[in-house]
Amino acid sequence: MENQTSTIQLVQASLVRRKRKERFLKGLGLSAICFAFLMLATLVISLVASGHSAFVQTHVTFEVFVDPDEIREKRLPRGGFDDALAASLAEYLPGVDLSDRATKKQVEKILSNGAQFHLRDLVVADPSLIGQTIELTVPVSDPYDQLNKGGIDPDTPEENRRLNDKQIAMFNQLVAADTISKPLNWGLIINADSRFPELAGLKGALIGSAWALLVCFLISFPLGIGAAIYLEEFAPKNRFSNLIEVNINNLAAVPSVVFGLLALSVFIGWFGLPRSAPLVGGMTLALMTMPTIIIATRAALKSVPPSIREAALGLGASPQQTVFGHVLPLAMPGILTGTIIGLAQALGETAPLLLIGMNAFITSAPDGPLSSATTLPTQIFIWADSPERGFASRTSAAILVLLGFLITMNAVAIFLRSKFERKW
């Protein structure tokens, strides 16, 4: 009896210490998580602050007279589309004299450079428009877009502004005429890259990234899982397989730029595959993703209880039936999680793609894995490098789009893991 009470007293005495330790660890973990969240929040807030303006785009809506003197059916697709646009826009600008060349230039410059091509495409598609008046909504050029979003302060001295007083006055006339609107900027998603920020979009980069990721997945997923299954389930455990294991871990740690150089000399140099192609990009990314998938798959296979293997083998299942019928399905959530995390890394990878020329300036979306393209991260790289003000906010917007995809992929990984997780 005495012995028992003393045990309890000892336990109680030590409990205080143990509880203190536990609280300390909990606090440490909590503060680490808070710190991580703080950093993430800072990143996202700063990106939103600088990038949110790129999600809307200033447009001007006005009546355009498709002047038969400027645009003749016989000369299509050539014609004085810019002149027709300028003349029509000038209708909203009382007191502006188009016969002055400099003024006419300024009026033309209010509109995005893409406006005339937009009008041209409309007229080419339907020549009966010639001689008619149509309502047109087109983006304004970058300086006016900035002005409308508050990026240009009319109170700064004129010589320090990208727009002089006269230009600002013209824009205010358009605002007064109720022609200016600021709708959601779908062009950011549905346009390809352009020299003009108000027209530049991510379509090419999105399609390029999609192709590259598809190629990367098709190569790295089967090869990675195959290699992992072989190493984990079939390969004899000896010095040689240890060597392979060490080297796969090394491969996962190789800086990505090295893979880019390798791809440049092997895929492009020897195999003669085209530069800037998503196919080559995907193959390069596959080199980097494969070790990640192999390591994740092996860990997932290892975590399947050996009793499951014994149960299947004991019933006379062949090793192959055991692996594909029992072990692999149980390991699948872990494998998928690893794969998606690997692909998310690949989606954000920049350096190797720069080396194989996926930072080329390409104004049309790729129509296949072999045509030149950019990817999201390389597009961000290009835009970040561009001097125009409009690209600064687009860079942040593109980063937000990329982060959106990454978060989606990671969410899918978590969803898959919880959906397929099994209890044994």
Binding site: P305, P306, S307, I308, A311, A312, G314, L315, G325, L330
Partner: protein, 259 residues
């Protein structure tokens, strides 16, 4: 019965079997003849190598990389460690119920149907269902699970899982059934049903059972092997082992002085 055991050709013979786990020797020079159509019981204190020897008979030890087996084991006169012998086929012939219940994380039906499926034992779904029902009935589990055959086998209780694993093993109709403590988690009623099953099976097959219950060994087996510290101390007719043990260690064990 005694004469039958001695005259009939043994189903399994083991000669001079040594087993090593890495550098430690788990079995020393074990030789036994396991008769056909009889129940052989392995008894002995924990850690003496009963499971290890059982796993040699269907080559499950192959799956442990550090395990090394030497000596001869034959099944119907054929050396099972011969390079020409396919362990997959051997394990279809020699079924096993493991010491720890290990149902697949699949439905109860799929657990039992797995063996018949991979070996193509049924022509159609109806026949497969018949096999599954029969196996579950013989393992004394049918009444408890007949309404939830599509629920996971891992959701059963420990004793139910044990019977599920027995049902799964007998569904493939092996020639030899190795049972490693098949009743360790069962109540007396289920134990009696499994013992009945073992008797029933032994009319056609050879059954080897590891047990910690002397009474069970005495009840179900015709032959008993006593293992101690990796040695086969004594092997003979169950009656003799329990009434007239020739080795003092056997006597000490069955009277409860070592174990």
């Amino acid at each position: 019965m005694e004469t039958a055991a001695e005259t009939a050709a043994p189903k399994i013979t083991a000669k001079n079997v040594d087993v090593f786990y890495a550098d430690t020797q788990a079995l020393h020079n074990v030789s036994v003849d396991i008769p056909d159509r009889q129940v052989t019981a392995f008894i002995g204190p924990s850690g003496c190598g009963k499971s290890t020897f059982l796993r040699c008979i269907n080559r499950m030890n192959d799956t442990i990389p550090i395990c090394r087996v030497s000596g001869d084991i034959t099944l119907d006169g054929q050396d099972i460690y011969d390079p020409n012998v396919d362990p997959v086929q051997l394990r279809a012939q020699v079924g096993m119920v493991f010491q720890k219940p290990n149902p697949f994380p699949k439905s109860i039906f799929d657990n039992v149907a797995y063996g018949p499926r991979i070996h193509g034992l049924s022509k159609d779904r109806a026949e497969l269902e018949g096999i599954v029902e029969k196996a579950l009935r013989r393992a004394a589990l049918w009444d408890e699970v007949k309404d939830r055959l599509d629920t996971p086998g891992t959701g059963l209780s420990g004793g139910q899982q044990q019977r599920l694993c027995i049902a799964r093993a007998i569904a493939t109709r092996p020639e030899v059934l190795l049972m490693d403590e098949p009743c360790s988690a069962l109540d007396p009623i289920a134990t009696a049903q499994i013992e009945e099953l073992i008797q029933d099976l032994s009319s056609r097959f050879s059954v080897v059972i590891v047990t910690h219950s002397m009474q069970q060994a005495a009840r179900v087996s015709q032959r008993t092997a006593f293992f101690h510290l990796g040695n086969l101390v004594e092997f003979g007719n169950t009656d003799d082992i329990f009434t007239r043990p020739s080795d003092s260690r056997t006597e000490a064990y069955i009277t409860g002085r070592i174990g």
